[in-house]
């Protein structure tokens, strides 16, 4: 289980618990559930890499306590 912090720097900061073998899409759904945004509107970024929905967290080497940038499209 990991806990990831997602922050759009506009006032929303969410800590999400998930499994390392979850996909980014799953993560987005969890975030959406917590924030109330539609999950398809969410874009997760780390620096300039936009995480794709079908790839697992462990493949992106997203570990416990990492910070992801939360954007909306």
């Amino acid at each position: 289980m990991l806990e990831i912090t997602c922050n759009d720097r506009l006032g929303k900061k969410v800590r999400v618990k998930c499994n390392p073998d979850d996909t980014i899409g799953d993560l987005k759904k969890l975030i959406a559930a917590q924030t109330g945004t539609h999950w398809e509107k969410i874009v997760l970024k780390k620096w300039y890499t936009i995480f794709k929905d079908h790839i697992k967290l462990q493949d992106y080497e997203i570990h416990d306590g990492m910070n992801l940038e939360l954007y909306y499209q």
Binding site: T5, R15, V16
Partner: protein, 752 residues
């Protein structure tokens, strides 16, 4: 949904009427142009969110997507969300929201995801490492201290165990004290008695059996059997003649070895051979070892070439022996070999070999303390060394045999002092001999014409020895005979000396040089002499020609001393000083000569090129002597400027008064400083600048003016004027100011 939205709008309406109005006004338009004014809408959304984010969330998702994912639309129940203030609220200013594990699990269940793996990773083995490639278990490094600890404990346990074992073993034994207390004298006696009884019983039983045997005749049977057995047994005599294929020396006495029959082909008719398997192996091994270490070819210094006595073992080209004859094997037959004989044979061989050799011990003579004094034995041996007879070199020119027929006996007699003393006595006894002594060689030399004999001390010695010998001889002879003999010898001697060999001695040398000095040799001043004498050559003075002739003889020639000539020399020189006036009557030459002698014409010194004459040939700007100075390094560099080593006696008192003066181009005498500057400019080929030159010119001009200036007067001649005025006014003063008053007073003064 719609109700929700409405509810929110109502809320906003309540709080901010103004805004609502504006929003409601633009609402319809917004709906139409959702895509165009997206950012505008977003902005609004954010504003709204500030008030209530929960309500806003619901309104955001577009309608078609809502239908597709219904659970996403369901807002999380407000009580479930636990709001967490982030540790640093300033960071982004956002409230951090997180769900608990149970909540997320519920949510995940709704989303169709598997529940969170809460415990698996955390409870996992700490040594397990997850990697991209899989899971690894890292084996912890062995703790050495633990190991040591366990080892120590083990050791302690072991020692304890051993102790226990030993104790248990010892517990069975009786200690000395225990046995003492246990054994009584009685018991011991009883035991011994029992033993004795048993022995007796055994003896009796044996006797009984023997008796029985004898009765039945079994004893003889047994004996026969034993004998036959012995006969038939395989014993030494059966082994006799069997061949053993090993070297006899390999067997050691008192050691048992099992020999077996060697493997042989059945059809071979060879006799049986005994071998030992181990020894065979050893032999093979040593052979292979030897083959390995052996160098190919012949090595003269190889140790194997010689046996222990230093005799060559191998034959010529022995390396091929094996190939030709096959392997040689040492063997012997049992029973036929007598060890004693063999040894004897060996010693005989060695003796034979050593027959010609000489034995030398390596033992040194024993060391002895050196004493300062001779022992008696040594003293007895001690003899004074014979006095060395001085060996006299024999010279060819004076043959001793000619002088004395038997010189050998005088040589012998000379040896001891005692003899000489005897001889002296004899001399005193008959003074005749003394008279007869004719001993001076000087006299003989007088007889010789001109040439002196007698070279050095050795020669003298030789002569003395001869004389002594003669004396001794004479001492034996008597009377007139002696006289005649001596006279004859003297004559011989003188004749011998005259033979014509030249003998050099110090006086002769001295005389020779004496003769040399007045003459003009090649020594060096000859040339000058010739020049001096040139003037009166015409008069034809004979002496000179004589001198020249002598010069021509060369240095090494022998000159007789001529005192007359030496006296004549000054006279000729006097003639040179008083020069005769050349006559005018013999042509132009005579006139010229006269003029020259009078000094009207200057004679050119052809022989001595002076420095001034060839000044124009010298380098103009370079005055330093050439450093290379030719190639002949006969003299060291150091000696180059030292000049002649001989003293210059004629100028002994000469002390030159050297004054260096430098003069510049204008003829001014330069001071040391100026001279340096001048030379420096010359050396570097670079003169002073224009200004410097002008300055110097000015200075020199001023100097000239200064010199010209009179020391008694000012440059304007005021003193002269003053004096003239004083003369004119006839007064010892002069009135400087023009005021009348003063003048009148002065006048009045004069009047007074």
């Amino acid at each position: 949904m719609g109700s929700n939205k409405r509810h929110k709008t109502e809320k906003t309406r309540e709080t901010k009427k103004k805004r609502h109005r504006s929003r409601s006004r633009s609402h319809s338009i917004e709906r139409e142009k959702v895509d165009k004014h997206r950012h505008h809408k977003k902005h609004k959304r954010r504003e709204r969110k500030d008030h209530d984010s929960d309500v806003e969330i619901v309104s955001a998702p577009p309608p078609p997507k809502i239908s597709r994912i219904p659970h996403a639309l369901t807002p999380p129940p407000p009580p479930e969300i636990s709001r967490q203030r982030s540790a640093s609220p300033t960071k982004g200013g956002a409230a951090q929201t997180s769900l608990s594990v149970e909540e997320t699990n519920k949510l995940r269940a709704k989303l169709g995801l598997k529940p969170l793996e809460t415990s698996t990773t955390s409870v996992d083995d700490p040594n397990k490492i997850k990697d991209d490639l899989g899971e690894f278990y890292h084996k912890p490094a062995p703790n050495t201290s633990d190991k040591v600890k366990t080892q120590k404990i083990k050791d302690r346990l072991n020692t304890q165990k051993e102790k226990r074992q030993i104790e248990s073993n010892l517990s069975k034994l009786k200690t000395l004290g225990e046995s003492d207390s246990d054994d009584d004298a009685k018991a011991w006696v009883q035991k011994n008695r029992l033993l004795q009884l048993e022995k007796k019983k055994a003896d009796e039983r044996a006797k009984m059996l023997d008796q029985l045997d004898e009765e039945f005749g079994i004893g003889t049977l047994v004996e026969e059997e034993v004998q036959s057995e012995r006969r038939s047994a395989y014993s030494n005599k059966d082994l006799r003649g069997l061949k053993v294929e090993h070297d006899m020396d390999t067997f050691e006495e008192g050691k048992t070895l099992v020999l077996t029959l060697k493997d042989q082909a059945v059809l071979d008719e060879h006799e049986d051979v005994l071998v030992n398997v181990n020894m065979l192996d050893e032999e093979r091994y040593s052979r292979s070892n030897l083959n390995k270490t052996k160098k190919p070819g012949y090595d003269a210094y190889d140790e194997d070439n010689f046996d222990e006595f230093g005799f060559p073992v191998k034959t010529v080209l022995d390396k091929y022996d094996e190939e030709i004859d096959g392997q040689k094997k040492e063997s012997f037959a049992i029973g036929y070999d007598n060890a004693k004989e063999r040894k004897q044979r060996q010693t005989e061989i060695v003796k034979h070999r050593l027959a010609n050799k000489k034995l030398e011990t390596l033992r040194m003579p024993e060391l002895q303390l050196a004493s300062e004094y001779y022992t008696d034995a040594e003293l007895a041996k001690f003899k004074k060394p014979k006095k060395k007879i001085r060996k006299i070199r024999q010279k060819k020119m004076l043959k001793a045999d000619d002088l004395v027929p038997d010189t050998t006996d005088y040589l012998r007699d000379l040896g001891s002092r005692r003899n000489s003393r005897h001889k002296e006595k004899k001399d005193h006894e008959d003074p005749e001999n003394l008279v007869m002594d004719v001993d001076d060689t000087e006299n003989t030399s007088e007889d010789l014409s001109g040439v002196k004999i007698e070279d050095d001390d050795r020669e003298l010695e030789w002569q003395l020895a001869l004389k002594k010998a003669q004396r001794v001889k004479l001492a034996r002879q008597t009377g007139v005979e002696k006289v005649a003999q001596t006279i004859k010898q003297e004559i011989d001697n003188s004749n011998d000396n005259q033979v014509g060999n030249i003998v050099l001695n110090a006086t002769a040398e001295f005389c020779r040089t004496l003769g040399d000095i007045p003459t003009y040799g090649l020594a060096g001043n000859r040339e000058e002499n010739v020049q001096e004498l040139m003037d009166f050559e015409a008069e034809g003075i004979k002496d000179e020609t004589v001198d020249d002739g002598e010069d021509a003889d060369g240095r090494g020639a022998w000159n007789t001393v001529k005192i007359d000539e030496a006296a004549a020399e000054p006279i000729t020189l006097e003639a040179a000083i008083l020069d005769a006036e050349p006559s005018l009557g013999q042509g132009v030459g005579g006139a010229l000569r006269l003029a020259m002698s009078k000094g009207y014409l200057q004679k050119e010194d052809t022989n001595r090129p002076s420095a001034s004459r060839f000044a124009h040939l010298q380098a103009q700007n370079y005055s330093i002597e050439d450093k290379t100075y030719g190639d002949d390094d006969k003299f060291g560099r150091r000696d180059r400027f030292n000049g002649p080593t001989s003293e210059f006696k004629e100028r002994d008192g000469f002390k030159p008064n050297v004054k260096l003066e430098y003069i510049d181009d204008d003829g001014h005498v330069l001071s040391a400083k100026e001279a340096f500057r001048y030379l420096s400019h010359k050396f570097h080929g670079k003169g002073p600048g224009k200004n410097k030159v002008e300055k110097r010119m000015k200075k020199s001009e001023q100097e000239v003016l200064m010199k010209r200036m009179s020391s008694t007067d000012t440059p304007l001649g005021t003193l002269n004027l003053l004096q003239a005025k004083q003369k004119e006014t006839q007064s010892p003063y002069i009135v400087l100011s023009g005021s009348k008053q003063l003048q009148t007073t002065s006048i009045s003064k004069t009047k007074h």
